[in-house]
Symmetry: C2
């Protein structure tokens, strides 16, 4: 099925700023509370929040097989479980409803009043109920930087990194929407030279990591493998992920079982899930690998996505921008939502 | 409130073998499917499964504030969320109903037929829906053994182990009831000396670990700490936990982020949750610590439980019994269920 929603020439009848992150070609999915305290699944075009529950109730998804309450939910889990065909039909229809040439909703003031809100009128929620979450060490530059920070700068990248996706399980219950206030964690740090007593108190080395998180759908049964060619079928979309890190706590506790309290006090995600479909035009060739991958990790085609982040430094110290350009192989970063 | 269910002199009118793990003083909680395909929360006395949903419907919990459907569930999560006072009232009442001196159910054949099953007539399920799961490296002997196996036998125990509870997040979606068939995992192993290509295939070093898991209830809000004196209030009960481990996969992948694919293909738990209340008589003094713990980890009293396991070797090789006697501080082993 064609992804008509990606048509780069489409214009919308909504007013969208030139440099908006939410042009009519994006159509992400999220969950918000309206000023009338109603929770709904929605999308965003420009600075407008679109209530998909209301859009569905008013008949705009006619012909697409959807249950009546599919958008009247406090998480996207059920919609995501419906699978890629449904995601694509819904996204294509939204693009069509808001197309500058489509007058059906554009000229219906009463419907528009029920469906369209300004972003400042709604409160964004966590978009999914997260069942499990896996954090992959997917950037070679990041793995090298962290290796230099915690271990030997001469042998910063460990040999296994070049052969297998290195990852660990994170705490899913501390994933919260971006903007939620976070309390600086308290914990132990390495004893100073000559002492046998660890330090204890609020972290003095609070750091962040800019990552991409993949929201996956119901996948394999326990014991069944997913071939690498099919891995993408299970990815619904992506969010920005900020893995807040207390580096002093992490440096003392992380051997031999990996990061724990230095990482699990909070992880923030952007509330809009950008679909993998919407990112199709942004595929690039994979980075060249040092060693030939083993067959089960080898796949033809362009599986990487390139993101360029712009940000402003508003902290003078301790916040280290690990990535400016982040390249992730979509087949290795997985984040379970079910 | 007194734990009358723990009365060591109580006898039951049910026939229970002398050396049963399920005397009237145990009264664990679990979930099972009856031969009529009905799922219910239950308990076990001797080799009898007791349907608590039926017991409740027939009025045996009169006077205890419980919702009508509290036991007609496929997990214990809601019952556990009701808190310790409710757990204790329910357990005390069950002990009373099955007391040899109580004729109410004993002499009602029709009720007994609806409430009591033989264990072979029911199929045990996973007792809780697991939200997050944390694996603590709680045994000094085990940490020393594994350190010798993977690293330097001379410095097997790392310095941090003596100061902080070392732990990591596990994969909650691969926790399954004991007895479920498990597929041997396939993965990479360390390249042989002189080669640059890792091994790949079914694990040749499949191992198990015998652990205790603590099922906890709804606890602190994000950012709020639980003082060590209150930590036990959040523990509902304990299960045996078998952390299946592919040691060859683990040895290659575990630096620097800890165990991952070598551990997350399956973890099995015993289906009956033994309450912390039932284990009160088995408290022992804590093992002496090498260093004085920091104040936030210090607590007076007997917080340890002692378990002695008996088992038979039915595998000639590769299955290493890490523990014969396992001592766990109840305050550091935590396993989230919500």
């Amino acid at each position: 099925m064609e992804i008509t929603a990606n048509n780069p020439n489409r214009k919308t009848w909504l007013t969208v700023k030139e440099n908006s992150d939410f042009p009519i070609q994006n159509i992400p999915f999220g969950v918000f509370i309206t000023k009338d305290d109603i929770i709904t699944i929605g999308t965003r075009i420009g600075d407008f929040a679109i209530d998909l529950g209301a859009l569905h109730q008013l008949g705009y998804f006619e012909g697409i097989p959807l249950t009546d309450d599919i958008f009247l939910q406090d998480t996207l889990n059920d919609f995501i479980a419906d699978g890629r065909k449904t995601w694509r039909l819904v996204r294509n229809r939204i693009a069509d409803v808001f197309d500058v040439k489509n007058s059906k909703l554009r000229d219906n003031a009463e419907h528009k009043d029920k469906i369209i809100f300004r972003m400042e009128e709604v409160e964004m929620q966590l978009p999914v109920s997260v069942g499990d979450y896996t954090d992959f060490y997917a950037s070679k530059e990041h793995a090298t930087n962290v290796g230099s920070l915690f271990r030997d700068p001469e042998n910063a990248l460990l040999p296994n990194w070049l052969h297998i996706p290195i990852g660990y399980h994170g705490r899913s219950s501390s994933i919260i929407p971006s903007g939620t206030p976070i309390r600086r964690p308290v914990g132990q740090s390495r004893p100073v030279e000559g002492s046998n007593t660890p330090g204890f108190g609020p972290s003095k080395l609070l750091d962040f990591e800019l990552e991409m998180a993949f929201i996956t759908t119901v996948a394999n049964d326990l014991g069944e493998r997913i071939p690498i060619e099919e891995a993408e079928d299970y990815i619904f979309g992506l969010v920005l992920f900020n893995d807040w890190s207390a580096r002093d706590i992490q440096a003392w506790e992380y051997v031999p079982l990996g990061p724990f309290l230095g990482k699990n006090f909070a992880s923030t995600i952007s509330p809009w899930i950008v679909t993998l479909d919407a990112l199709e035009p942004f595929r690039v060739a994979n980075p060249k690998q040092v060693h030939e991958p083993l067959p089960y990790l080898k796949k033809e085609g362009n599986d990487s996505l390139i993101f360029i982040y712009k940000w402003q430094f508003n902290q003078k110290a301790l916040l280290k921008p690990w990535f400016v350009i982040l390249i992730l192989n979509t087949c290795i970063g997985r984040w379970h939502n079910s």
